[in-house]
């Protein structure tokens, strides 16, 4: 057993604890309080127990939004992770070409979400947008403001354009960290390109890919700005994801009770996902450090 000789560390984490208390724990407590009451006015509150949770859990619109959200996050992960790895493998490893590719690749990451939404909104327009007009000229009946499938695909492609570079950069950094000796050994054994990828590169990338997976999952699960700017959640409800649905409830309709209950459910989903990814990361650690 390790004995603690010095408790100074507790003092040093105190500022963080205070910050978290003010920015997260106290607001969370307030949300829990709101979720069990009907707030009619600043001084008028009625305790309703689990009524809001019941309402939210049985809300078909919420189920639909959750379904769309899960499908979106799954699609984002299924496309961005392999695409990011492919990009990283295709990038030049050294020299000015490498630096140039990295800078070009990182550009979408520097653009704020609402600007990305605006860029794609114009890009996809049938009359003046480069992509929209080109598709229309080619005879494709593309209209992201009127057709739900088009809207959905546009949001997905926009997210892929915006965030695949992150995975590519992470994977690139992971690839550069693999010692040359592994490749030499593979060459001596006459390993094929695929075998090198399958048995050397992929296992070595496990740690960074898990971090990428976690980041992309969390981000895509909380996506709000881009679809809000691009489609406003429409047409109909086709691109209304969880965050936007929550905002509609809390800000649009000012239903604070159901919105609070919904926030807590959202929080629990994220908490579970975080725990799963955290355990995976913890388990990935020893494999990385395994003796060569």
């Amino acid at each position: 057993m390790l004995k603690t000789y010095n408790n100074k560390a507790w003092l040093l984490v105190l500022p963080v604890v205070l910050c978290v208390a003010f920015s997260a724990i106290i607001p969370l407590m307030t949300v829990v309080n709101y979720s069990v009451q009907d707030i009619l006015g600043p001084d008028q509150k009625v305790f309703v127990g689990t009524e809001w949770f019941q309402l939210v859990m049985r809300d078909p619109e919420l189920h639909a939004a959750l379904g769309r959200q899960v499908l979106f996050s799954a699609a984002v992960l299924a496309i961005q992770i392999p695409l990011g790895i492919l990009l990283a493998l295709a990038l030049p490893a050294t020299g000015w070409r490498s630096s140039l590719s990295l800078v070009l690749l990182a550009m979408p990451l520097l653009i704020p979400q609402n600007v990305v939404g605006t860029i794609w909104q114009i890009y996809g327009r049938g009359d003046i947008g480069l992509a929209g007009a080109a598709l229309t000229k080619l005879g494709v009946n593309y209209n992201y403001t009127g057709n739900s499938m088009d809207a959905w695909l546009t949001v997905l492609v926009m997210d892929i354009w915006h965030w695949t570079p992150l995975i590519a950069l992470l994977a690139f950094a992971g690839l550069r960290a693999i010692p040359e000796a592994y490749y030499q050994a593979a060459r001596i054994d006459g390993a094929s390109r695929f075998a090198v990828f399958r048995f050397i590169q992929l296992p070595k990338l496990r740690g960074v890919l898990l971090i990428g997976l976690l980041l992309r999952f969390m981000d895509s699960f909380m996506i709000y700005t881009e679809p809000f700017v691009l489609t406003g959640g429409g047409p109909g409800n086709a691109t209304t994801f969880l965050s936007q649905y929550l905002t509609q409830k809390a800000v649009g309709q000012f239903d604070l009770g159901p919105a609070a209950a919904f926030s807590l459910i959202y929080f629990l989903i994220i908490l579970l996902a975080c725990f799963v990814f955290y355990s995976l990361l913890q388990n990935a650690g020893p494999a990385e450090k395994a003796p060569h």
Binding site: M29, N33, V36, Q37, M57, L271
Partner: protein, 93 residues
């Protein structure tokens, strides 16, 4: 207290958060008195005492939510099941 009025406190929520705080203090004291050793139970991962408490509480929340969404029976049944589940996870998880 006037300064806490904006938080719209209710008794059940106050009891809930007090229990969480007490649990944290209790777990800390227990940890100091006899440090937890990570082990493997029926859960598919190695856990310490704190991990099991977290998992137990998280699944308790899900049990309660599922109960609210799927049945019209009283919530106390779900609370009872969740409590038993928490004990099972703490002991054999």
């Amino acid at each position: 207290m006037e300064s806490l009025a904006w938080m719209a406190w209710t008794t059940p929520v106050a009891i809930f958060f007090s229990s969480v705080a007490l649990m944290l203090v209790g777990m800390t004291l227990w940890q100091i008195k006899s440090p937890s050793i990570a082990r493997r139970g029926f859960l598919p991962l190695t856990t310490t005492r704190g991990d099991r408490l977290f998992l137990g509480l998280l699944s308790a929340a899900y049990i309660n939510l599922a109960w609210t969404g799927l049945t019209d029976l009283h919530q106390w049944f779900a609370a009872g099941i969740a409590f038993v589940w928490l004990l099972v996870v703490m002991r054999w998880g």
